[in-house]
């Protein structure tokens, strides 16, 4: 039954990783994202909430999907935005991360969305600057909004995440998506199995409460959802498996293997897909795949995170008004 508006905020000032969030935080983000999902399907898909907030998107590493998704989320919330990419900036001239960011902040920026190839870069910034920091991927560490939107997409498709069986398949070693997914899914009570070549599965990953499996067919037969990860060739300095062809034969998901199961598995992929390697095109484009739902949900989740983090910027009791 509806009652007076509920006032709640996240337990954190920055979104640095899903590991820092409580179960209640995740639930607040999801319920807020439900509202934003409704808003982005309206005739006018914009709310004025962050109109007095400036957000800098600092992408020190290439990104298409995440950058566009954050940018769209910010625009739909009416925030002013500055886009920055390392390839066209003074970083190339040798400026440090902190100097670059301090200069941007001197121009009065309230929030920062940062992607960086070094794990911990957003944490470092959060310690040294006053703005709210959102981690959009730091090296091989975490990609919290992706973890949240993946779990949100499972919740949307299956009704809840609790007790669902989720397999994360592929390059677990280099994947920040895998780590954020594991944290998020475990907090929400899902069972998680990671599957991939032994060389791409980190030692001691079972200490995070996940099972390890090396056989793709067995994993698919067990799971309700398969989150298939990209083989990150750009992060592999040495060869972890003999050839892409061999990887595809052992860990690539195609129609044939899915048809041989006695159940329908939901297929997810954080993108970008290496078509024909970890996922065949007919599977990626099939009704089993919720890859494009993930993309749509990404905007709603990022709107929710930005809204909730922005809520307490510059809060002042003196400004409180009766309503």
């Amino acid at each position: 039954m509806p009652d007076l508006p509920v006032k709640k905020s996240l337990s954190v000032d920055h979104l640095l990783g899903v590991n820092d969030l409580t179960l209640e935080d995740i639930e607040i983000i999801f319920s807020t994202a439900d509202n934003f999902k409704e808003i982005i399907n309206r005739p006018i898909r914009k709310v004025p909430t962050l109109r007095d907030i400036t957000i800098a998107n600092l992408f020190f590493e290439e990104s298409t999907r995440t950058r566009v998704s954050f940018e769209l989320a910010e625009k739909r919330l009416s925030a002013d935005i500055i886009n920055f990419s390392a390839s066209s900036s003074s970083v190339k001239k040798g400026e440090t991360l902190l100097d670059t960011v301090r200069n941007i902040l001197a121009m009065k920026v309230e929030m920062i969305v940062i992607r960086h190839s070094s794990p911990g870069a957003p944490h470092f910034l959060a310690r040294h600057i006053n703005s709210r920091v959102v981690n959009a991927g730091d090296g091989t560490h975490e990609h919290p909004t992706q973890g949240l939107l993946d779990a949100y997409s499972i919740r949307e498709k299956l009704g809840s995440v609790k007790d669902k069986k989720v397999a994360i398949i592929g390059d677990i070693l280099h994947s920040r998506v895998a780590l954020s997914n594991i944290f998020c899914l475990r907090k929400l009570g899902a069972e998680v199995t990671v599957c991939g070549p032994p060389t791409l599965i980190p030692k001691f990953i079972d200490s995070l409460g996940v099972s390890v499996e090396y056989n793709l067919r067995k994993t698919l037969q067990w799971c309700d959802v398969a989150n298939v990860l990209r083989i990150q060739l750009e992060r592999q300095n040495i060869r972890y498996f003999p050839s892409l062809r061999e990887y595809t034969m052992l860990f690539g998901i195609n129609r044939e293997i899915l048809d041989s199961l006695d159940k329908e598995v939901i297929i997810m992929h954080p993108g970008p897909i290496n078509r024909g390697i970890e996922l065949s095109s007919d599977v990626a484009d099939s009704g089993q795949s919720i890859i494009l739902d993930q993309v749509e949900n990404g905007v709603a989740i990022r709107m929710a995170v930005l809204y909730l983090l922005a809520g307490r910027i510059g809060y002042s009791d003196a400004n409180a008004q009766p309503s």
Partner: protein, 183 residues
């Protein structure tokens, strides 16, 4: 302190009934009219009025919707905790429709202002009217006035008017509380 009763259960029924007659006078069979409640408490008024229109006055399936105004408020970042939104249920656009916006209590007018903003994201209505159960006179901070009023009351800022509903609180009525901190 014990709250003062402004409207009792019996008066409540009569007031709802009168509001229905006033609506019928202006909107006839409600074709081309949409009734929209503001979350959270305006939706309870909406449901009650709709039930009366349907059961007592034979209005068939009036078009109804519920709008949440959280993201349109003008006090974002002025309170310690952000407000969590309630659901918006609008499965139609209001383009060229006559809209009756409903809320339980009209106080500063800021909620209704935000409601108008939220409403306009669903199209450009031909006309928007405002219906409130209680109008707290002399406390407006914006130039907003109701078209249909259940009852006008004179209150101070540190008083609080609460509408109770059979569905949520067990009985219908309107209460006035003294010396409540401004919410």
């Amino acid at each position: 302190m014990k709250p003062r009763v402004i409207i009792t259960g019996k008066e409540f029924r009569v007031t709802i009934e009168r509001l229905c007659y006033e609506l019928i006078e202006n909107h006839g069979d409600f074709s081309g009219t949409a009734l929209i409640g503001l979350q959270p408490r305006g939706t309870l008024l909406l449901r009650r009025i709709c039930r009366a229109l349907t059961d007592t006055h034979g209005i068939v399936n009036p078009l109804t919707g519920e709008i949440d105004i959280t993201f349109y408020r003008d006090d974002f970042r002025r309170r310690e905790m952000p407000l969590l939104p309630q659901s918006t249920n609008m499965n139609f656009v209001v383009e060229s429709k006559r809209v009756i916006l409903m809320d339980d209590v009209l106080f500063t007018g800021r909620t209704v202002r935000a409601g108008l903003d939220a409403l306009l994201t669903f199209g450009r209505p031909e006309k928007v009217e405002l219906l409130v159960l209680i109008d707290r006179r002399w406390s407006r901070q914006l130039p907003i006035q109701p078209d249909y009023t259940g009852k006008c009351v004179d209150t101070r800022v540190n008083q609080k008017v609460k509408v109770t509903w059979k569905e949520s609180e067990g009985n219908d009525g309107v209460l006035l509380y003294e010396d409540i901190e401004g919410e």
